[in-house]
């Protein structure tokens, strides 16, 4: 977690170095994000003006095109994301069709699992468990027919509540939700997790031990 941390910007670095670091940070953030990343968010995290972030992204996008990489940096739905170059679609299609990749991403599967075990559940509750905005993923799952709106919260705001569908049960070969494998015994309490975390300060490997 970086809250509180300062990003590792070398204060003595020259402007060119600083810009190079900012650009590689942008590349890294966009690479792992599941949804297009708004420039405003990146600007905030890097403590840089939005206009600079946009300029750097454009420069990156240009350099990819110039060097004929297989990926491009596209501005989609208000954010930046990596996507494959249009003319390479035939290769990508072959690849996607190759069986092992016809499945949900880890993030999507985790969201689906949360909905399955905690339904009915609101978007905000999913977000608080996963720690990230589940909007895009929930949309995908709904488009596939694995989850659906099952009601409205009675509280203020009347948030939409999600649950799994018949399709979900069918695809997993389940008769009913009662057939989901139990998980409670595998989930440690927060105190255990914390103790583990603290007890586990692995000593750096020490070369003379191996002598």
């Amino acid at each position: 977690m970086s809250d509180g941390h300062q990003p590792p910007l070398d204060p003595g670095a020259g402007d060119a170095d600083r810009i190079a670091e900012m650009k590689s940070a942008l590349e890294a953030m966009i690479l792992v994000a599941h949804d297009p990343v708004p420039p405003e968010l990146m600007a905030q995290l890097l403590e840089q003006p939005v206009s600079s972030v946009e300029r750097w992204c454009d420069e990156l996008a240009e350099s990819y095109t110039e060097r004929a990489h297989g990926f491009e940096l596209a501005r989609v739905a208000g954010g930046y994301r990596y996507q494959t170059r249009g003319d390479l679609s035939p290769y990508v299609e072959r690849f996607v069709l190759s069986e092992q990749h016809a499945r949900l991403s880890g993030a999507a599967l985790e969201t689906l699992a949360i909905v399955a075990y905690k339904q009915p559940i609101s978007r905000a509750q999913v977000a608080s468990i996963r720690g990230v905005d589940p909007d895009g993923v929930l949309r995908t799952l709904a488009a596939r027919g694995y989850v659906a709106e099952v009601g409205r919260d009675t509280g203020p705001g009347q948030a939409v509540l999600f649950g799994t569908t018949e399709t979900f049960l069918e695809k997993l070969g389940l008769d009913s939700l009662d057939d989901l494998p139990p998980i409670a015994e595998f989930i440690p309490g927060a105190d255990v997790v914390e103790t583990l975390e603290q007890g586990l300060h692995p000593a750096p490997p020490d070369d003379d031990r191996r002598a």
């Binding site: 509180g4 994000a33 679609s89 689906l112």
Partner: protein, 258 residues
């Protein structure tokens, strides 16, 4: 010699024995076996539930140790049965081999931790194809087993540890009352009379101020300063009364553990 195993994460009798022989660098025969047993029993108690496997495992080790020790205490070897002697050596070699194996994997575990820490700094992209390719795979759940869904649920629902900043590398502020006394013995005779607030004006850490305060009380106890606090919660006035030649070494300073 004290054997303190309770400060270590105890993960079994081998660990304990390894720790005793290697880190303490002792000859196992020069310490009382009773102490190892006591330390062990304390651990078992701490673990709340007695694990029979652990207990018997340790009994086996303890028995071997007792026998080895008894053998060493014998005055001579002329009367020793050769078969028994051989069996004992065999036991010992077995124990030795197991300790070596245990140590080997302990060291490997350190390297694994290092590898994992390095790998943890990089984050893999696992975004998948964008929506242009979504139509190609009508059923994304086809390749998903219940096991995979269950594991995803466990991953997602396991509480995340609250991140803490690791302060291992930061050395704590170490201020001792004795050091503060030495400073005051230099400063107070020159000042003659000074308020506590002024005396501590240049200190940043609250702990340093407290230590100074304790040092002043020490000096009061030793009779080399007078204290006066005219107002409730007001500044404390410190007046040096000790003359010019007070040496810190001559004062007996209480040691505060902190």
């Amino acid at each position: 010699m004290t054997i303190d195993v309770s400060t270590e994460v105890y993960t079994g009798p081998f660990d304990l024995l390894l720790q005793l022989i290697l880190s303490e660098e002792v000859d196992i025969y020069e310490i009382h076996l009773a102490r190892i047993v006591d330390a062990y029993l304390d651990e078992v108690e701490r673990l709340q539930a007695l694990d029979l496997d652990v207990a018997t495992e340790f009994l086996l080790i303890a028995a071997t140790l007792v026998e080895l020790k008894a053998r060493r205490l014998l005055p001579g070897r002329a009367d020793v049965d050769l078969d028994e002697e051989l069996a004992l050596w065999e036991e010992r070699d077995l124990l030795l081999a197991r300790l070596l194996e245990c140590k080997t994997f302990k060291d490997v575990a350190g390297v694994f931790a290092h590898l994992a820490d390095e790998a943890d700094r990089s984050f893999a992209r696992s975004v998948g194809p964008d929506e242009r390719f979504a139509g190609l795979t009508p059923d994304l759940l086809a390749g998903t087993s219940l096991q995979r869904l269950r594991n995803a649920a466990i991953r997602a629902l396991t509480p995340r540890p609250v991140p803490v900043v690791d302060l291992h590398h930061v050395s704590p502020v170490r201020v001792s009352v004795a050091d503060a006394v030495v400073e005051l013995l230099d400063e107070l005779p020159r000042a003659g009379r000074i308020g506590f607030r002024r005396l501590t004006a240049d200190l940043v850490e609250r702990l340093e101020v407290i230590v100074r305060f304790l040092a002043v009380l020490e000096l009061y106890k030793q009779g080399v300063v007078e204290l006066d606090q005219p107002e409730h919660l007001g500044d404390i006035e410190i007046t040096w009364t000790g003359g010019t030649d007070v040496d810190a070494d001559e004062l007996t300073i209480d040691v505060y553990e902190g």
